[in-house]
Symmetry: C2
Subunit: 254 residues, 2 copies
């Protein structure tokens, strides 16, 4: 076994996202965080395995969080850490971990960088309520911190703030071998290549091959995406797909 | 109790979305269906209670589907019903319901409207595999149908096709009293109104009041959204919020 093989056979690092907020479920706010975090994690070698969106109901948040944190290396939550009554994420996380929650002097100090004492009112101090034992995630945009407890990273829902927090958190994460991918546009309908593509997928079990139909200006088309952590396996399967596409194009043109 | 009261006290009709697809979790494809379905359901009086995104792994799909279908009136799935090897939703749904799955003559007839016999190959016939006992959902875009089994509606992942299927399904759904909402832009930071807003929320328990911060050209601002199925309760709570906003603006300006 080479060093590269050992690296490739290591356990993957996995993640889940828990989006918290009635506004996403009502459709009023269109989520922009799931796609951003998904792409971000893929790029640093972490596999996103599941996403859940739950309402601002404590029991729902607790149940989803406890289910997800047992399944993956890291959970990332978004939403529900602001200063208003509907921001209940910190309390729900404390409940999920069975720890107390109180105003955290470190978090108050962060808020004090932005707000003079007369503005540091009850509502804003709510954003300093942090579960016992949590580490804070700095917020360069608006100061109110996120936090990390166990394998759970609690972040803001506002995309610009969430993104800043993710940049702070990322260097602290263990990461896996990055998933490599190659995308090939077939110029063919998905149904024309389904059978030979299945044979290629079966012959290359160490890769994951996805087929994604779309409508282009010239009609139905398909993107084939080959994914693997091993560059050699990726190249082999991609070559097989490219050859199949050429064969099927010739067959259908002939 | 008036007829209106009886209507308002009826059990809400609820829903969940199950998005199936590695491409969403990898970030390669940005989901456009969750927000669309969420808004659609809200508009017809159905409460979306949860969303999950799972990979193309049968056990994961089965577990998520069985959890969700027990919790809500309707589940809507998107993705995984195409002609390629990674399209495993129909088989997973059959497994979740403990029923057999086979090529369905009704579905084959639909495919035959688009594909001449020489194009109705093994891959395309895969799209006619339907769990026993399911009803079909017509697909006006590309013919390959979705299906309904129990309270589960299985739809395509391509947004244009999913939207066409949702239009077919919607008239068959029982719907609740539509959730009404009023949105007020505060012109104030969320932290400035958190305390009085919490008091209003507490005083109007038959409404749901959300606070959504955003950055405008002039700096941090907040939208307050009051929601209720009862127009009178909505009006009362909205008036209270409007008065509070006026008071706080005057206080902060003074």
């Amino acid at each position: 076994m080479t060093a590269s093989d050992a690296m490739l056979s290591a356990e993957p690092v996995t993640a889940a996202i828990l989006v918290i907020g009635d506004e996403i479920l009502s459709g009023r706010t269109k989520d922009k965080n799931i796609g951003y975090i998904a792409e971000y994690l893929t790029n640093i070698g972490i596999d996103l395995r599941e996403v859940r969106v739950v309402p601002d109901i404590e029991d729902e948040i607790v149940a989803a969080l406890n289910a997800l944190r047992a399944k993956v290396s890291y959970v990332f939550t978004t939403g529900g850490i602001g200063p208003t009554h509907d921001d209940i994420t910190a309390d729900a996380v404390a409940k999920a971990f069975g720890v107390t929650i109180d105003h955290d002097p470190r978090a108050i100090a962060m808020l004090a960088e932005r707000f003079p004492p007369d503005q540091l009112n009850e509502a804003r101090l709510r954003m300093a309520r942090i579960p016992a034992g949590a580490d804070l995630i700095a917020n360069s945009v608006s100061k109110a911190p996120g936090f990390i407890i166990g394998n759970v990273h609690v972040m803001a829902g506002v995309p610009s703030i969430m993104q800043a927090m993710l940049d702070v958190v990322a260097p602290t994460l263990k990461t896996g071998v990055r998933m490599l991918s190659e995308t090939m546009r077939a110029g063919l309908k998905e149904g024309d290549i389904g059978t030979p593509l299945a044979a290629i997928a079966k012959a290359h079990p160490e890769t994951s091959i996805g087929s994604y139909p779309f409508f282009s200006d010239t009609g139905p088309d398909t993107n084939i995406v080959v994914r693997s952590r091993d560059p050699e396996r990726l190249a082999e399967a991609s070559a097989a797909v490219a050859a199949m596409i050429a064969t099927e194009r010739a067959r259908l043109a002939g």
